[in-house]
């Protein structure tokens, strides 16, 4: 078996036993990237020299008998919105094309402290807004199972690089499904931890009350290993939880005795693809054969989750993205062009005698903001900023934003009630397997509905995991989603591992 086919845990064992060097592992992955990523487009930035230097340093320290971190010598890919002082951090936006972070995000600092080799920065929808990675302003990422199809998003590069064996581990972020959905569409494991489990410090904010970083990998055990490296309280993020982090990888092989599995009635409604439904129901059957009891539950407010999300997330985005003003960092429009443009407009309005419009004309500073943002942001980002600014504007705040916050509580209460009766909730990740590139590009609303099964976990703050559970007749992976109550990641991973042990979907690879 070649090195790139090994799981992260297996590689770590080989490294620890001195059977292989990190330089060799890293070089294998760099070779794979060189051969495969031209077609896939998962990476925005790969610094091979730096990665090999990090690997050589870990090898040297390992040979010297030094104590090493949890991921010592393992390559890890990072989504391009987690600040890293060694790398540009672009969020796949023209706005941050040349942004060089002055500090490390806590996630990246933890990876460095764990002696991981940071192998590259992965592509994404611009500012994590999208579900297909088509909104990247730099490049398309293609699904390794069928390159005519999207890898999902927004962490499309993060999922595609694992699926195509270009990295054993990868870090993504999930605001409405952005880890679980691409993991599902690319046939890998992806997990969104409980909100607050992983620090958001240095994670470029999209929707602060929903954003959460998490792991993607080929197996649940690798996922557990990466999660325990990333998780933990961080004084620099006031919303991070001061709760002890269990060693997930140590307990993952303990099956859950007397597991009560919940099936959500509303998940199997109209719109769910027949093959996806069959695969998910078969997965539930696997749990039954393992001794789990299955109970049908109802989440009556789940049908409002997408509407709630598309008020709250854009509202927070419009506020968070106000920081891109062409002053502190990021793109600035050309000032002389602005002066010329304003002079021409003034002349025109004077000639027309339009006093009202003259009075309302932008000053140079306001026009600089507006033009810098117009040039720096892509169309989906503009759409969401506009939607959020509208929902928060005078006269609409109560009807949209405040209303959505109230419905959000009802969604959470549905889950609280459900978790009185069941331990885990199982269902689909997406209604359909990966769609074709360009298929939904002209229809923002139908693209938003792709998040149907995943947004609730973000609104409620719950952990969720996506696991491979089937292959469609068209040869595309199908994902199973498991959700648990807040901070129950250990149970979630143990439950996921049970399924993985009983099936072989996680061993399937794209050709």
């Amino acid at each position: 078996m070649s090195l790139i086919e090994r799981s992260a845990c297996e590689l770590l064992e080989l490294l620890d036993q001195g059977e292989v060097l990190s330089v060799e592992v890293t070089q294998s992955y760099l070779d794979r990237i060189a051969n495969r990523d031209g077609e896939i487009g998962a990476f925005l930035h790969v610094d091979a020299d730096l990665a090999l230097k990090q690997a050589a340093e870990v090898d040297r320290r390992r040979q010297a008998g030094e104590t090493l971190g949890k991921l010592a010598g393992l390559p890890v890919a990072v989504k391009d919105l987690l600040c890293d002082t060694n790398s540009p951090t672009t969020c796949a936006s023209q706005m941050l094309k040349s942004f060089q972070p002055p500090y490390d995000s806590t996630v990246v600092a933890k990876l460095k402290a764990a002696d991981a080799v940071l192998i590259g920065r992965t592509n994404m929808d611009e500012f994590a807004m999208g579900g297909s990675t088509e909104n990247s302003s730099f490049q398309l990422t293609r699904n390794p199972w069928d390159t005519q199809r999207v890898p999902g998003g927004s962490s499309g590069g993060a999922a595609a690089c694992v699926a195509a064996s270009m990295a054993p581990l990868s870090v993504g972020t999930d605001t409405g499904g952005s880890i679980r959905q691409p993991a599902g569409l690319c046939g890998v494991v992806g997990m969104k931890p409980t909100y607050g489990r992983v620090s958001r410090f240095g994670l470029v904010a999209f929707a602060s009350s929903l954003d959460q970083a998490g792991p993607l990998a080929r197996t649940t055990k690798d996922t557990a290993l990466l999660l325990e490296t990333l998780a933990g309280h961080d004084p620099q993020d006031a919303t991070s939880l001061a709760t002890e982090v269990p060693e997930y990888s140590a307990t993952i092989n303990r099956p859950l005795e007397g597991l009560r599995l919940g099936i959500v009635r509303e998940h199997f409604a109209e719109g769910l693809d027949g093959e996806v439904e069959t695969a998910v129901r078969e997965a539930i059957g696997v749990y039954e054969s393992l001794g789990a009891t299955v109970k049908e539950i109802s989440l009556p407010h789940s049908k409002y989750a997408v509407a709630t999300y598309y008020v709250i997330a854009p509202s927070e985005a419009s506020s968070n993205l106000a920081r891109y003003d062409g002053v502190h960092y990021g793109h600035r429009a050309d000032l002389s062009a602005i002066q010329e443009e304003l002079a021409a407009e003034r002349k025109q309005l004077e000639a027309n005698g339009d006093k009202d419009a003259l009075e309302k004309m932008d000053g140079a500073l306001v026009r600089m903001y507006r033009k810098s943002r117009a040039e720096g942001f892509g169309s989906e980002v503009k759409r969401r900023i506009m939607l959020g600014a509208y929902a928060l504007s005078a006269g609409y705040y109560d009807a949209y934003y405040l209303k959505a916050l109230k419905v959000r509580r009802l969604i959470r209460q549905d889950f609280d009630a459900a978790f009185e009766e069941v331990d885990l909730i199982a269902g689909p990740v997406t209604a359909q397997p990966a769609f074709k590139i360009g298929e939904m590009a002209d229809d923002p609303l139908s693209m938003y509905l792709v998040d149907l099964y995943t947004v609730s976990a973000n609104l409620a703050g719950l952990p969720g995991i996506s696991l491979p559970c089937g292959i469609s007749s068209t040869g595309l992976p199908i994902g199973l989603q498991l959700q648990a109550k807040p901070l129950a990641e250990e149970m979630l991973l143990r439950g996921a591992y049970m399924y993985e042990q009983a099936t072989d979907w996680h061993t399937k690879r794209p050709k």
Binding site: A238, S318, R332, R412
Partner: protein, 96 residues
Amino acid sequence: MAITRADIEKVSLLARLQLTEDEIESLTSELGQIVAYVDQLSEVDTEGVAPMAHAVEVSNVFSSDEVKPSLPREKALANAPSHNERGYLVPPVLGG
């Protein structure tokens, strides 16, 4: 409620975005559709329900009152499109 062109123009100023004619037109219709979809929230009975701003409702998280190093000025300025040794440079704010 239908979104009008005037709404889009007003919000684009609030959001500090300059929009092209085409963008104003497409956003008027797209935001109209999205807002019409989101309007289904009005059918939910939320009488007496407290708004939930955060998934984990922690409040008053204080950090200890210690002096710690902050970002050095040159690092904070390094990514700015225009700056001198002391601060960020912007177009004239008054009379510009």
